[in-house]
């Protein structure tokens, strides 16, 4: 089935989405991917899951966050609040019936509070930020520069800072440091079943793609995601 490319409007920009929308779909699941570079590593597997969901009559879509992927907005201008707002707009304009998020996507998915939520391996912002800072420090060291975490955070107060390739604004960095997934009334949370162990009611088969050095795919993970979401929406 062909992909659709709907758009949604936020802050005077039309942002790109990729969607699979089978006729007569029983549910419309908005997928909020992990943040920043983790998105790159998970995207293909998520699209594979979308194809599987489509075969079961479930529509799904991934919205671009402003400043990310195909967005023409500047990443340095973005804030977590802005992204949360964007997800809310996307869910509303694309007429989502469910929200499914991964990792740091769980930090910005709480806008459409009335919709049922599904979260896979939700992540707190602090550890995500820590990883990015470590990567930046290591890259600087290779280039012969010594940078400390405090220097980076101090610089962030003045201007956007390049953290592992992404130019992030001070408010975004501060917000990430403190961010935790919000408690939601209607939320199914699944973790990854550790390699070699059986999945159970709340753990699905999958490898932590977001830890990899470069994007790849995990077909078993994609199937597990689709199976779990299809059952969850009652398809």
């Amino acid at each position: 089935m062909r992909l659709n490319y709907p758009t949604y409007r936020v802050a005077d920009h039309d942002e790109h989405m990729v969607a699979l929308e089978p006729d007569g779909a029983s549910a419309r699941v908005l997928i909020v991917l992990p943040l920043l570079e983790e998105m790159n590593r998970v995207r293909r597997t998520a699209v594979m899951a979308m194809r599987s969901l489509s075969e079961r009559g479930v529509a799904s879509a991934i919205p671009d966050l402003p400043g990310c992927n195909e967005s023409l907005a500047a990443i340095a201008d973005q804030t977590l609040e802005g992204w949360t707002n964007a997800v809310t707009h996307a869910a509303d304009q694309w007429r989502a019936t469910h929200i499914a998020s991964f990792r740091g996507g769980a930090l910005i998915d709480h806008g459409p509070a009335a919709l049922p939520h599904w979260r896979c391996a939700p992540a707190k912002g602090g550890p995500l930020l820590k990883t990015m800072i470590r990567t930046r420090i290591a890259a600087d060291r290779e280039a012969g520069r010594t940078t400390t975490k405090n220097e980076l955070l101090a610089a962030a107060a003045r201007e956007p800072v390049d953290l592992a390739g992404s130019l992030l604004g001070g408010p975004m960095i501060a917000a990430l440091d403190a961010a935790r997934p919000e408690e939601l009334a209607n939320c199914r949370t699944v973790a990854l079943a550790p390699a070699g162990s059986e999945p159970d009611r709340d753990r699905i088969t999958g490898s932590p793609l977001w830890l990899r050095a470069e994007p790849g795919e995990d077909a078993d993970f994609a199937s597990a995601i689709a199976d779990d979401i299809a059952a969850w929406v009652g398809a």
Binding site: R2, L3, Y5, H16, V18, E37, N40, R41, R43, R44, V47, G67, C68, N69, E70, S71, L72, I75, E142, A143, D162, G165, S166, S207, L209, R212, A213, E214, P215, G216, E217, D218, A219, D220, F221
Partner: protein, 282 residues
């Protein structure tokens, strides 16, 4: 105007982004590794937007088995048909195009070198071409070893594995950055000089020598991949490829494989714009 489309490659649907512009010369961006077509840190998407602002349309796509495209991932060694299909799709999307310049970094540069001739490309920008033969399947594919129907890339890779001369240990150290850069460079030159070029580098040299369109090679001075290529470039294997006058790799004073950072990006963009603006010799 940025728009999104899909096109066919041997029965498989590939996803693409087109940045529209009025120019008759267009830039085709071929993506390296398994990266999505927006690129690491949305770098390719940003580059495309800038190039389109300069007046040149830009086309980039997810090859089979990557990003939003269908199909299975055969790695860069099987990406020739994808490159050819992409140039055809680019021309269909922009019927006024008279010239396509293709840009690729890392193994995308290698793929262009080897398969560009089959794709009607008018000029090449090849950055940090990948010459290192990996002893394991493409990083990131959890089930690739279980794939019973190996794509042609698998057969090609098996052939290269048989001819692999470098000890795995050295390769692992090179790829992990544990080796001192200066030493690694001398070691690579020694290694390349002593033995005949690896299968992949040798095939790349042969292909490069057969390309008649203008080629620009871009190298990051401090990048492992770039250094490995330069070691091969200076060796006997690339003697025929070095012949065309003016084919001297342009070196950027950066350690970044992907030309990250303002200075390296400005340098890269200037190189790209120069080739886009060039008129082919009559």
């Amino acid at each position: 105007m940025r728009r999104f489309l899909q096109f066919d490659c041997e029965g498989t649907l590939l996803a693409a982004t087109l940045d529209e512009a009025q120019g008759l010369t267009g830039l085709l961006i071929v993506t390296g590794g398994n990266e999505i077509r927006a690129g690491g840190f949305a770098g390719q998407a940003q580059l495309a937007a800038w190039v389109a602002e300069q007046g040149f349309p830009v086309f980039r796509y997810d090859r089979r088995g990557t990003g939003e495209s269908e199909g299975s991932n055969g790695g860069f060694l099987s990406s020739g048909p994808d490159i050819a299909a992409a140039t055809r799709a680019f021309r269909r999307a922009c019927p006024d195009l008279t010239r396509i310049v293709a840009f690729g970094n890392c193994d995308a540069a290698s793929a262009l070198m080897m398969f560009g001739n089959d794709a009607e490309i008018d000029a090449y920008l090849l950055a940090n071409p990948w010459t290192i033969e990996q002893p394991v399947e493409a990083a990131g594919n959890a089930k690739s070893e279980d794939n019973p129907a190996l794509p042609p890339a698998g057969a090609i890779r098996a052939r290269y594995l048989d001819r692999l001369k470098r000890p795995d240990r050295l390769l692992a150290d090179l790829l992990s950055g544990r080796i001192d850069l200066g030493k690694a460079r001398r070691g690579l030159s020694q290694m390349v000089g002593k033995e005949r070029a690896s299968g992949l580098a040798s095939d790349m040299a042969t292909s490069l020598a057969s390309i008649e369109a203008p080629v620009t090679i871009l190298i990051s001075r401090g990048d492992m991949t770039g250094q490995a290529f330069m070691a091969h470039w200076r060796g006997k294997g690339f003697a025929a490829a070095r012949k065309p006058a003016g084919l001297t790799p342009a070196i950027c004073d950066t350690a970044s494989h992907s030309f990250a950072g303002k200075d390296a990006q400005d340098w890269l963009r200037a190189q790209i714009r120069e080739v886009l603006n060039a008129r082919t010799a009559a």
